[in-house]
């Protein structure tokens, strides 16, 4: 006997829909307002800046960025003085053919920044907190990641670029990169043969702190590389490691030294805003030289280089003269 089940779903439209306003400013300085990030990306033209206020935005998986745009948030940190809090994107940012020269600045991204199989050059990611960078094609060039939190394993697929002043879980398969003043905290399984926090070839590796060491298992048949940096043909100096040195003028904290006494707040190596990677104690002399505060530096506030509204008081109603009283404080960055 055929039995049917009726699922009655009552949906009340009493909920209110009022999305944030995303301003897209074209190269000719014309502004268009969108309600969703998907629409803003679709409506942006080559060279547009997409201004994302504080708050949450979803981006659909099928949304592809196929033009040169700058996604400009406020900050990935909620504890800044921006009136609307942090800019948070739920989903992945998928860059495809035509998006070379795009930038992502000042936002938290729950997913990855993906560069598709197309050859995509000169993508800039700054002041962001993202799950990872996933580059699919070794011919992508000039990817520049600066002052970011990379919460999980990032793969460069043999592509080149520059990684500087970032707090990283692990970054692997980079080729011909400048890797400067980063912290690598987790040794992550790259494939069935090897685990590393940093795996690079033909790269300059200077001023980094490599907390986690890698290893190869017995099935690996190639030449065993360094436990600190996997790969070959790398050069560099002034990197901090534990239990050995890597490169020229390396700083070995000693095999018995706990990272807790090296950093202000090691926080078990957590890639978190609660961690503090300033060097302290005997290692304070290296602060500002090695690690994220060295080189071009690291700004804790992670603010995008735009003005921001830090307070606003808007009257509930117009006054007797028909005017609306407002008091707004603006800060420049």
């Amino acid at each position: 006997m055929k039995r049917n089940l009726l699922l009655a779903v009552a949906f009340l439209a009493t909920f209110t829909v009022w999305a944030q306003n995303i301003a897209v400013v074209s190269p000719s300085n014309e502004t268009t307002i969108y309600q969703t990030l998907d629409d803003a990306v679709a409506g942006a033209t080559n060279g547009s800046v997409v201004y994302l206020p504080g708050g949450g935005f979803q981006i659909k998986g099928e949304t592809k960025i196929d033009k040169r745009i700058t996604l400009m948030g406020v900050s990935h940190r909620g504890d800044t003085d921006n009136v609307d809090g942090a800019t948070v994107i739920a989903g992945n940012l998928n860059f495809v053919k035509g998006s070379s020269g795009s930038a992502v600045i000042g936002m938290y991204v729950s997913g990855n920044i993906n560069l598709s199989e197309d050859s995509i050059d000169n993508i800039v990611v700054r002041h962001c907190n993202i799950n990872s960078i996933q580059i699919k094609n070794s011919t992508c060039t000039g990817t520049y990641v600066n002052q970011c939190y990379l919460r999980n394993l990032s793969r460069f697929a043999g592509a080149n670029g520059k990684l500087s002043n970032c707090i990283c879980s692990a970054v692997v398969d980079v080729n011909g990169c400048d890797i400067l003043n980063n912290i690598f905290l987790k040794s992550v399984e790259i494939d069935r043969y090897r685990s590393h926090a940093l795996y690079a070839d033909n790269s300059i590796i200077t001023g980094n702190i490599i907390v986690a060491t890698g290893h190869h298992n017995t099935y690996y048949t190639g030449a065993i590389p360094s436990a600190y940096v996997g790969g070959s043909n790398n050069t560099g100096s002034h990197n901090m490691t534990k239990g050995g040195e890597w490169g020229d003028n390396g700083v070995d904290i000693g095999g018995e030294t706990d990272w807790n006494i090296v950093f202000e707040k090691y926080n078990q190596g957590s890639i978190s805003l609660n961690s503090n990677f300033h060097l302290t104690g005997d290692y304070k002399q290296y602060d500002g030289k090695i690690g994220i505060y060295g080189g071009t530096g690291f700004t804790n506030e992670a603010l995008a280089p735009i003005p921001r509204i830090v307070s606003k008081k808007v009257a509930e109603q117009t006054d007797g003269t028909g005017k609306l009283k407002i008091e707004v404080t603006v800060k420049a960055q």
Binding site: L5, L6, L7, V9, L12, A13, T14, F15, T16, V17, W18, A19, Q20, N21, I22, V25, N29, I33, Q35, V49, Y51, G55, G56, Q58, R68, M72, V74, G78, D81, V83, G85, A86, G101, S102, A103, N122, V124, N152, N160, N175, G176, L273, P305, I306, P307, R308, I309, Q317, T318, G320, T321, G322, K323, L324, K325, I326, E327, V328, T329, V330
Partner: protein, 497 residues
């Protein structure tokens, strides 16, 4: 060496594109009302500072409006847009009066003249006997005083309900999380055709769990007439000696958190453990922009030292007055389990959608299934997914709504009372703990090794803690299960097989 150096010139291209629009411009605060058109600029002499001014609204119609602002720097950069809502009223009269309106109909507001002297306090009495134009049910009543000389009071809002004319018993029905089958009700005593303030006593609502809920209410009048459903969001909180609620939006813990202390029984520590409910609309989100945010909240109970589990829920901040009144549902998508092929269609715009979906048991394998549906409204925004779980009963071949009951007959409790039994099966985790050191309540948190939370659940100690937690994770996922109670955290790891 096959080394390719990224060109600094190329690397800087993206930043350069920002500079291409950096023609010198007047810095200031740009603003517009309702929709982007002809923005005005309030000039600022410096790149940073405070603007205090009155914006001319004479061209706006009476009613609700939204102000949008953004800062503009002299080099052409903008801040993101920030919005606030307000009410535009017509020029004031010389009389003092009490103005009131229902729901969002500010342009249909009524007024009662008040005989009040300057500096005098007077109890307001609002005669709603002529409020015959608005329909049966629950409504938001807004009031303000328009005093002589063009001064206005802030707007005061409250919930009221109205009965139609008729005879017989009327009740207020309410239920949580769209589970109308578990609705509760209590009689209301309002004169036929009258309006009365809504008093909803939910201190005895013990059947729904702690945390964030959607409350639905309606008036059932004289056994035959039902009002439209009114929804609000509420939190059910536990009561303890020094209970306090801390909440914040997004990751804005440092700046944006609010603490409500002592509202839930502070100073009454000897009272029995009971719960109360807090209307979410009473929480202060005035600093947030309209739109989607993540609400975090934590309840601290008992001795004040227990930092409760942080809960996270997505919410839509609407702001008080910018609600669109003409939003309707226009289309739908539905799918089964994790099938990528969406099915759905469009239908005539309507404010309430009641749909039936027919499933054939022959089309489904035995075991657990999930039916997903979401709706799009006329503002082109999709609702959250509504997920209905059902399973095919292996004995009868019938489909049944709900999660397939977890068979725990072959699970034996651990003999170590300080640990706990923890078994994953069919998308659920069975947890059993018998320790004598447990508190009255506990919390179960399921995460992966990176800390991503899959489930949180508050549990009560009834001769030990016994719970079944739904977990939506990938197959073969390594899970960390934490049982937190009485200040102790017990942890186990398991694999979702």
């Amino acid at each position: 060496m096959n080394r390719i150096h990224p060109s600094p010139r190329l690397i800087g291209l993206s930043l350069l594109l920002l500079c291409t629009m950096a023609a010198r411009a007047q810095a200031g605060l740009e603003y517009w009302f309702d929709s982007y058109s002809d923005p005005k600029l309030v000039p600022m002499p410096m790149a940073a500072g405070t603007i205090k001014t009155g914006l001319n609204c004479t061209d706006l119609t009476d009613g609700f409006h939204t102000l949008y602002i953004r800062a503009k720097s002299s080099d052409g950069y903008y801040s993101p847009v920030s919005s606030s809502s307000f009410i535009k009223f017509a020029a004031s009269s010389s009389d003092s009066k009490l103005e009131y309106w229902f729901d969002k109909d500010v342009d249909k507001r009524g007024a009662t003249t008040i005989d009040i002297e300057k500096g005098e306090n007077q109890m307001l009495e609002l005669d709603l006997s002529d409020a015959s134009v608005f329909p049966l049910g629950i409504h938001q009543l807004s009031m303000r005083v328009a005093a002589y000389g063009g001064y206005y009071s802030p707007v005061y809002t409250d919930l009221v309900m109205k009965l139609p004319s008729g005879t017989g018993e009327s009740v207020l029905e309410y239920w949580f999380d769209d589970n109308i089958t578990r609705k509760a009700s209590f009689p209301i005593n309002i004169l036929s055709g009258d309006v009365q303030k809504l008093e909803l006593d939910m201190t005895n609502v013990s059947s729904f769990p702690l945390g964030f809920h959607r409350l639905s209410m309606r008036v059932a009048a004289y056994g035959s007439q039902y009002s439209p459903i009114y929804t609000a969001y509420v939190m059910r909180l536990p009561i303890g000696g020094n209970t306090q609620l801390t909440y914040w939006l997004d990751d804005d813990y440092e700046k944006g958190r609010h603490v409500i202390a002592g509202k839930f029984g502070a100073g009454y520590g000897n009272f029995p453990d009971f719960s109360t409910t807090y209307f979410l609309s009473s929480l202060d989100f005035s600093y947030a922009s309209a739109g989607m945010h993540r609400l975090h909240y934590r309840i601290t109970t008992g001795n004040g030292f227990d930092e409760g589990v942080v809960y996270e829920v997505p919410i839509l901040v609407t702001q008080r007055y910018n609600q669109q009144t003409d939003v309707t549902v226009v289309s739908e998508e539905f799918w089964l389990d994790e099938q990528a092929d969406y099915v759905g269609g469009s239908f005539l715009p309507q404010s309430v959608v009641i749909r039936s979906y027919t499933l054939n048991p022959n089309d489904y394998s035995e075991g657990q299934h999930a039916f997903h549906v979401q709706y799009k409204n006329s503002a082109e925004v999709w609702s959250a997914q509504n997920v209905t779980y059902f399973y095919k009963d292996s004995a009868t071949g019938q489909l049944r709504v709900g999660k397939k009951p977890l068979d725990t007959t072959d699970i034996t409790s651990t003999s170590d009372t300080e640990s706990f039994t923890c078994v994953y099966r069919d998308g659920m985790i069975y947890i059993d703990c018998q320790s004598s050191k447990l508190g009255k309540t506990g919390a179960i948190v399921v995460s992966d090794i990176s800390g991503k939370i899959f489930a949180r659940q508050t549990v009560e100690n009834t001769d030990g803690i016994h719970a079944i937690v739904d977990v939506n994770c990938n197959p073969h996922q390594l899970l960390i299960v934490k049982l937190i109670s009485n200040g102790e955290c017990r942890t186990q790891k398991l694999i979702a097989m």
